[in-house]
């Protein structure tokens, strides 16, 4: 059964990708990119990659189509140019593809348990993580303790992206005095506002559940941050941008983004203070397993805060841009 599901999902993915490459209507391409995100997330689900499906759903099907749409709202939908340099593209793609296909011939078969990938480093994670770190979700224990430095890099990448978007779009002097008046920022009609009022509190509650449930089931700091931001994005979509600006002012969110990274960094430094290496939590509490628990919860919190605030910064800057986008004549 898994095989049928896997092959069906992959073929759907392929069809969507080829159509996106072929279509000229940008709006259709963005919509299909959303479907592409949904399909790849369900593929990850059928592969047993639960945390990854969670993240891909929140990001691939949630945030990136929304961002692309607000870019599209300013840049117009027509894709005028027919593909130029097609020959060069086909050539490079052909060469890369050929190299890859020859490489697959000697790959270990898909799913074979004795492939080298499963024999060297991975068995220890599965066997000893319960004893050493004491949480059932092995992915979170590898993510937050064995390879915690990678996750610190991940949080800093998100922080850099938030800063980059801020430096490009956010800091223009005239943001303050110009009122946000585009329909994208106006409250929408009655039904949506009622349903919005009903849904937003459970969404934020669910985000907190995902944040602290990260050790026992799928979830964790990053997914929780995205869902938390999606709650506020829904609020801004339904009740308009001014309403959100009143609750979440820009300076606070920027500071929170920096605070999240600092939390992560200082928890690592505590490892040094407690006489061990950087990012070693066993010294944080009485015995080492309790210390690992405490460390993982702290850094997941740091990740959640940074991701939520960066996603909010990016979305609010984009929709404020939309308001200003109206001033620029549409040359779509």
């Amino acid at each position: 059964m898994e095989l049928i599901l896997d092959i069906a999902l992959l073929s759907l993915l392929l069809v969507t990708a080829v159509y996106i490459a072929w279509t000229r209507d940008l709006f259709a391409a963005v919509i299909l990119a959303g479907i592409y995100g949904l399909l790849s997330a369900s593929f990850f689900m059928s592969m047993g990659a639960v945390d990854v499906a969670f993240t891909e759903a929140a990001v691939g099907a949630g945030i990136s189509p929304l961002l692309m749409l607000s870019t599209l709202a300013i840049c117009g939908r027509a894709q005028r140019a027919n593909p130029q340099r097609a020959l060069l593209a086909l050539l490079t793609v052909g060469v890369v593809g050929a190299l890859l296909i020859t490489a697959t011939l000697e790959m270990p078969a898909f799913g074979s348990p004795d492939a080298p990938a499963h024999l060297h480093v991975a068995p220890r994670y599965i066997a000893d993580s319960m004893r050493e770190i004491g949480i059932p979700n092995v992915v979170t224990s590898v993510l937050a303790s064995y390879r915690a430095f990678d996750t610190l890099g991940e949080v800093v990448v998100i922080f850099t992206a938030g800063l980059g978007v801020l430096s490009l779009l956010g800091l223009r002097g005239d943001v303050r005095e110009e009122p946000i008046h585009s329909p994208m920022a106006e409250p929408s009609h009655l039904v949506l506002r009622v349903v919005g009022k009903v849904l937003i509190p459970p969404i934020l509650l669910f985000a907190l559940y995902v944040q602290f449930h990260g050790e026992y089931g799928p979830g964790g700091g990053f997914q929780a941050g995205v869902i938390f931001a999606v709650g506020f994005i829904l609020y801004s979509l339904v009740f308009g941008l001014e309403a959100v600006e009143k609750i979440v002012n820009r300076a606070l969110v920027q500071a929170l983004a920096a605070v999240g990274v600092l939390i992560y960094g200082t928890v690592g430094l505590l490892g040094i203070v407690s006489g061990r290496n950087y990012l070693d939590y066993s010294g944080l509490a009485g015995d080492s397993v309790a210390g690992q628990h405490l460390g993982i919860i702290a850094i997941e919190l740091g990740v959640g805060i940074t991701v939520a605030s960066v996603m909010m910064i990016v979305f609010f800057v984009f929709s404020a841009q939309l308001a200003r986008g109206r001033a620029v004549p549409h040359a779509s």
Partner: protein
């Protein structure tokens, strides 16, 4: 019986995808995405039960939430675009 439902879900997803690809007007595509989204929610729940690990249903819930928000985002964009084209025509 669950496997039959999973196959039915796959068939529906294929049909919805065909509508998304063909869809003459943009709203057909949005409708197809909406159908596709709810079907993915169901597919994930069914996969959880097939693989015997029902505690992964949170993902199906996130799907439903994300699908709803992206549909509202798309429509909000479209309302904005629609009005703009009309003003553009004036």
């Amino acid at each position: 019986m669950i496997i039959a439902t999973a196959i039915a879900l796959l068939v529906v997803m294929v049909l919805a995808l065909v509508r998304a690809l063909l869809g003459p007007t943009i709203h057909d595509r949005i409708l197809a995405v909406n159908v596709f989204g709810t079907k993915t929610v169901l597919l994930i729940s069914v996969i959880c039960f097939i693989s015997g690990r029902p505690e992964f249903l949170d993902i199906a819930l996130v799907y439903a939430l994300i699908n709803f928000v992206s549909i509202i985002g798309v429509l909000k964009y479209f309302e904005y675009q629609g009005r703009d084209e009309r003003e553009g025509m004036q």
